[in-house]
Amino acid sequence: MRSVSRRFFLRVGGVLCALTGASIPFSLRAAPRLSGSSNKATPTELVPLGARYLRDYPDELATCEALQRHVATCDHRLLEGIVRDDFRRGDTVRLDGWVLARTEVRVAAAFYLNNVHPGGLQ
């Protein structure tokens, strides 16, 4: 079945592309940008991740709201240490298959909240 669809793709894929100009989003765009490296995320890039986290874990809303005011000014090194500790303790979350530290997704959620409610919810 797999090989048939692949051959089908080869035959008609180019034609379809030319006709529609369609593009297929690659899931890598959803990959988390990581702290402390060349992959370091910008707050804007963290927003979808944070939204996803709050959608999957609505009970976390209050915790993430509390973080809202601090995320812009938090010490990056300190944050990275906490994230690593999360992984060591096994305090992780699975989002779209990505195994992420609890703290990093909470921070992402705080950025999301700042984005949609810049002054906080209250």
């Binding site: 090989s3 051959r7 894929g13 592309c17 402390g36 060349s38 690593r84 992984f87 298959g97 195994v99």
Partner: protein, 534 residues
């Protein structure tokens, strides 16, 4: 000397000291190890000097249970045997694999890794790989720091190195040795039809073989060694039911049971933080030895989590292709070079098209901008894991007959919750270690194919075989005849002069490819025969 049995007179009879049934990795190793001794050795190989559709047809079997590869594809019936499929990967089993592990029912070899080490050292040479050193730090340091180890917490995750031979096809590579050995005769095209057990039941007197042109040849010997492969060894014992009604060595209904393979599945992908040097974890050559490392859990972690052993390979995107597709392309190339018409041409062409279509699809998608180029810090993760020894996972004789009138096998491969959980937990633990070390993040099951193996409900309904052509355990080794078919010296418990060698004697399978271990076990058997048959 190599003799084609189709040319010998019908009804010919030979006698020798040691008759080796099977000319694959184990049979050829045993014959070579016995060269230059005072023993007269005969090797009976069912196939010829090259694979053929006619010979392969004898390996056809029915499939039940979890979908498995067709057995006439997953094994090769010719001189050299399934080394014709071998990818060349070599790694000894871990010490923990030999131990009786509380969390792994039916584990525990009657041998230790330490006892097998001297034979592993010999097996390294035979398999055509480098020095008997699998310490990842050794290989890392051997390349002037160009292949650093990943700085992961060693108490949880360790690196494990495979060495890779060319790979070496035993039938071709060692043919001259067999031709020139003065005390060794290899009869090709001689498929064992009958094992003649003495009426008292404890001794094998002779075997009768049949050629493709219908001639029979009898071989009498002081000692017989069955070396026909991880599945066929069981079949031969089960077929010999004239004196032992359940088959030789099967008084306790063990022959054919405990069938295991290594589960080889994509499990996710790794996004590294940046420019971490991953050369040790990609196939490369260090001081002439081809090798690659992957990640395994420490023995302590396996025990604490009650997991089976496993290895996670880190592959550049697009590096992994199905064995079948890649193997078909290589087979077609080889046939073209030798100007021979390939068997089963259409199937191999179809698989090769699949192979190139996969690569082409990716190339076209990138050219059209449909797909972002895969960043150099993104890798695919494939797990290669141990399967729990399970008596319900088995091969047994079916009702269908082959062209020699012998019953074909039924493959009933079964997997357990522990098999699935071990894959899942191993990847989860490794994922967390990457995060803890600040190296990167892992996405578990990024594609639909991956998640099948991470979800026990879906795994029970898979429709794609995911083994490794590693057939293990069907004549397992144990000191007790109630728990094993052969003893620690590979002698069938209830027989005085019949031995079995090959991957079928593995009590448990670890994650290491079995060729190196089966060759080491066969070297050990050769030494045993040299001292006991005088």
């Amino acid at each position: 000397m190599i003799i084609d049995a189709t040319n010998v007179e019908d009804g010919s009879s030979y006698s020798c000291d040691i008759c080796v049934i099977g000319g694959g990795a184990a049979g050829i190793t045993l014959a070579r190890e016995l060269r230059g001794t005072s023993f007269k050795v005969m090797v009976l190989e069912a196939g010829g000097l090259a694979p053929s559709a006619e010979s392969q047809a004898f390996y056809k079997a029915q499939d039940r249970g979890v979908m498995y590869f067709p057995l006439d594809v997953a094994r090769l019936r010719y001189l050299g045997g399934t080394t014709g499929h071998w990818g060349g990967a070599c790694l000894p089993l871990d010490p923990i694999d030999f131990e009786k592990r509380e969390a792994v029912p039916n584990s525990g070899w009657p041998l230790t890794r330490e006892q097998l080490d001297p034979f592993y050292e010999r097996a390294q040479l035979i398999c055509g790989v480098g020095p008997f050193n699998y310490d990842p730090a050794f290989w890392s340091e051997s390349d002037n720091g160009n292949r650093p180890l990943l700085p992961l917490d060693a108490s949880v995750v360790r690196s494990a190195v495979f060495q890779n031979s060319k790979p070496l096809r035993f039938g071709e590579f060692y043919r001259d040795d067999l031709e020139q050995a003065t005390n060794v005769e290899v009869l090709i095209n001689a498929a064992v039809l009958e094992m003649q057990v003495r009426a008292s039941g404890e001794r094998l007197d002779a075997v009768v073989a049949r050629t493709p042109n219908g001639r029979t040849v009898a071989v009498r010997a002081k000692c017989f060694v069955l070396a026909t492969g991880g599945i066929e060894n069981a079949r031969q014992l089960l077929l010999a039911d004239r004196v032992h009604k359940a088959g030789i060595g099967n008084a306790h209904d063990l022959v054919g049971r405990y069938f295991m393979d290594h589960i080889y599945v994509p499990v996710g992908r790794l996004l590294l933080n940046g420019d971490q040097n991953m050369r040790l974890y990609q196939m490369g050559k260090v001081n002439g030895t081809r090798l690659r490392a992957g990640l395994s859990l420490s023995a302590e972690q396996l025990a604490a989590e009650q997991l089976l052993n496993g290895w996670v390979g880190i592959y550049k995107s697009g590096e992994y292709h199905s064995q079948d597709a890649r193997g078909s392309w290589n087979y077609l190339l080889k046939s073209a070079k030798s100007l021979e018409m390939p068997d089963d041409l259409l199937r191999h062409i179809s698989a090769s098209v699949d192979y190139f279509a996969e690569r082409g699809e990716r190339w076209i998608r990138r050219r059209l901008g449909w797909e972002e180029p895969v960043p150099p810090n993104l890798f695919n993760l494939n797990a290669h894991t141990e399967q729990a020894p399970n008596p319900d996972s088995r091969v047994y004789l079916g009702k269908k007959l082959d062209d020699n009138g012998q019953r074909r096998l039924v493959m009933d491969w079964r997997l357990t919750e522990q098999d699935h959980r071990s894959i899942r937990r191993t990847v989860e633990i490794i994922s967390k270690q990457f995060g803890a070390a600040g190296l990167g993040r892992v996405q578990i099951g990024f594609s639909d194919d991956d998640t099948v193996w991470l979800d026990p409900d879906r795994a029970a309904k898979i429709d794609t075989p995911v083994g490794s052509f590693h057939h293990l355990g069907t004549t397992r080794m144990h000191d007790s005849p109630r728990q094993g078919v052969v003893d620690r010296n590979l002698k069938v418990h209830e027989m005085s002069n019949l031995y079995v060698t090959g991957s079928s004697v593995f009590t448990s399978g670890g994650f290491a490819n079995p060729t190196l271990t089966l060759v080491a076990l066969t070297c050990r058997l050769a030494d045993h025969l040299k001292t006991t048959l005088v």
